[in-house]
Amino acid sequence: MNSSSTLTEILIDGVSRGAVYALVALGYTMVYGVLGMINFAHGEVFMIGMFACIYAIGVFSTTWGDHIFLNLGLGIIVAMIFSAAYGYANERIAYRRLRKAHVLAPLTSAIGISTFLQYFIFLTVSKDTVNFPRYYSDFLTNHRIHFGGVEVTYLQIAILSLALIIMGGLFYLINCTRLGIALRATAQDQLMASLVGIPVDKIIAFTFILGSALAAIAGVMVSMYTNVLVFDAGYRVGLKAFTAAILGGIGNVPGAVLGALILGLTEALTTLQFGSEWNDVTTFGLLMLVLLLRPRGLLGERVADKV
């Protein structure tokens, strides 16, 4: 194999890794955009989606047999409902009362919820890695599209297209719908928004429910991609997605995807050039560089606009 095709493969790996980060980063950025708060428990909601999906698939396949598309589709829906419920509960229990508190209070609460959920799953569901049933992922991981000597699996294409579709959908929702206007109004000034008749509590709850449901989709795709689920799966992907959201400009939907793709490509190219032990050095070095030059991230709004 010549080195140019290795480079092409690395680029594909990088883009699909970036797409994985993008799926999670969208949730971070949406909550930040509306509340100005970093929801550190987002990675755990994502992990709960993973577990909900395979347990649902297990129940369905014992109830009415192994219909791949039916069970997987329903599994994703169950995961979305589960994650959305957790996301809503997090907001209701841990964040709502702290909305007017100092900015560090909800942040600390989020870290607490994150640790709580991680070890709740560890103690009640599984201490060990759980395998995604390969019967359900084989059709995505084993089928490939060939072009120019390189292969891309269906799953890699699915992850990237999902990230782009969700990005487009969110962008449309926020910028072109009445709900989006309410979201933006809530983001700008909660008191004023409530005075003009926007149900602020419901809007914020909706943000969490939508973000968490999207996290569940990401969870299912990622658990297929990495083949295993584990209680701390949300931590690493969550951290990287959070970094990606910052890199692209947190609060900005296309920025999250851009940041995630850049992050994924940086990691893949570092692996090729220096070895994967340098991944954290290069990605966080890049983050620092970007933040020094553009403190609000690549596509971030200027501070004046925000206030």
Binding site: T6, V20, K127, D128, R134, T141, Y225, V228, D232
Partner: protein, 381 residues
């Protein structure tokens, strides 16, 4: 007003709590009159190595229960202090300090080499015997600590077995190596690299990856481009499983060779009946007569099959307690003198320690997956 009440009640709870702890403390500060012998147990019980670490500690628990059923040691019941180091080196040092402060006379643990090495200094300074059932990094017993022991083999014994198998039996000339950047994984990977190169082979890729990373596709693309004929993973099963699957998904059907860290049922659950997978581990104990009652008891007590290091946990506890019994003392110097000079009977056979605290008999062999089970290779070393 409500706030005041809240503060008051909080204050009362705090004061009561402090009073209780100080009672506890005053009880603890009379070691002379202690009616029990305290043994510390430490290892990863949570975190990604939580399962294998817990099953190791469970093995030790069975041994201690057996001793207590017989009346304890030196005429006193054994009391265990079990702490979780989460597989993290910094946490392990805190755990070690807590164990030292709680007055344990000896420690069984830890599991991860990265935890055992920094913790061992604390135990050594406090003159506490430490016996690790599962830490294979050579550095642990190379620090010159008189009270440090291990009942498993060392990576500079394990690595050469794996390297020689790859070079001599599998006839590989070019291999790629990936490790998890821990004292254990990286240490072993470096030994394998050194041995493989000294045998005349070439290591075409040598990389490390974060412990919680589970997407290895970029590394595998590099492996593909490097033309490696075999792949060695220095790390644990929680990453080894998905890594092995992704290797096959990438169309690389080259041999996958790994270590005792992958020697766990969940590794097989993940990879299934994959051919061309080889693991280095200690000898097969399943057919040994002494192992059967232990495996049955483990199953009855914890309602699951024993883990890879359960037997080692059991053997470590038994060795330690019988050394205390033979020394008729819990003093570290006396126990150490016994341990270094007498043979001990364990499930895995007779065990003797050398002057460093390593076992003289460490029989690493190569295993493979056959019929969904790990089995010793007939042609292996």
């Amino acid at each position: 007003m409500r706030k005041l009440h809240l503060l008051l009640s909080l204050g009362i709870v705090l004061v009561a709590g402090a009073a209780l702890t100080s009672c506890q403390k005053s009880q603890d500060s009379k070691p002379v009159e202690a009616s029990t012998i305290k043994i510390g147990m430490a290892g990863a019980q949570t975190g990604s190595d939580g399962q294998i670490g817990t099953s190791m500690l469970n093995g030790s628990k069975i041994a201690i229960d057996e001793w207590n059923a017989k009346g304890g040691v030196l005429g006193k019941k054994i009391e265990t202090v079990i702490l979780d180091d989460e597989g993290k080196p910094d946490k392990a040092v805190t755990v070690a300090q807590t164990l030292v402060d709680s007055g344990v006379v000896a420690v069984i643990g830890h599991f991860n080499s990265g935890c055992t090495i920094p913790a061992s200094r604390r135990y050594n300074d406090a003159k506490i015997v430490e016996i690790s059932p599962g830490s294979t990094n050579p550095q642990y017993t190379e620090q010159g600590f008189p009270y440090a022991f291990r009942i498993c083999g060392r990576d500079d014994q394990q690595g050469p077995v794996a390297a020689a198998y790859m070079h001599d039996k599998l006839k590989l000339n070019k291999i790629a190596i990936l490790h998890n950047k821990t004292a254990y994984g990286q240490g072993l990977a470096e030994v394998v690299k050194k041995t493989f190169e000294s045998l005349g082979g070439t290591v075409v890729m040598f990389q490390g990856i974060g412990q919680d990373e589970r997407d290895f596709r970029a590394n595998l693309s590099v492996v593909k481009g490097s033309g490696a004929e075999g792949f060695f993973w220095g790390g644990m099963y929680s990453q080894g499983g998905p890594l092995c699957i992704q290797l096959r998904e990438a169309g690389l059907n080259i041999p996958f060779i790994s270590d005792d860290g992958c020697f766990d049922q969940s590794f097989i659950d993940t990879v299934g009946n994959t051919a061309n997978v080889f693991l280095s581990f200690g000898k097969d104990y399943h057919d040994l007569p002494a192992a059967k009652p232990f495996m049955d008891k483990y199953k009855a007590t914890f309602n699951q099959q024993e883990g890879a290091y359960s037997v080692y946990g059991y053997d470590a506890a038994n060795t330690l307690l019988s050394a205390i019994d033979q020394a008729q003392s819990t003093e570290a110097d006396k126990v150490t003198a016994i341990m270094k000079n007498r043979p001990f009977d364990t499930i895995l056979g007779k065990v003797e320690f050398d002057s460093k605290g390593d076992v003289k008999q460490s029989g690493y062999v190569m295993w493979t997956i056959k019929d969904g089970k790990l089995q010793v290779l007939p042609d292996g070393p």
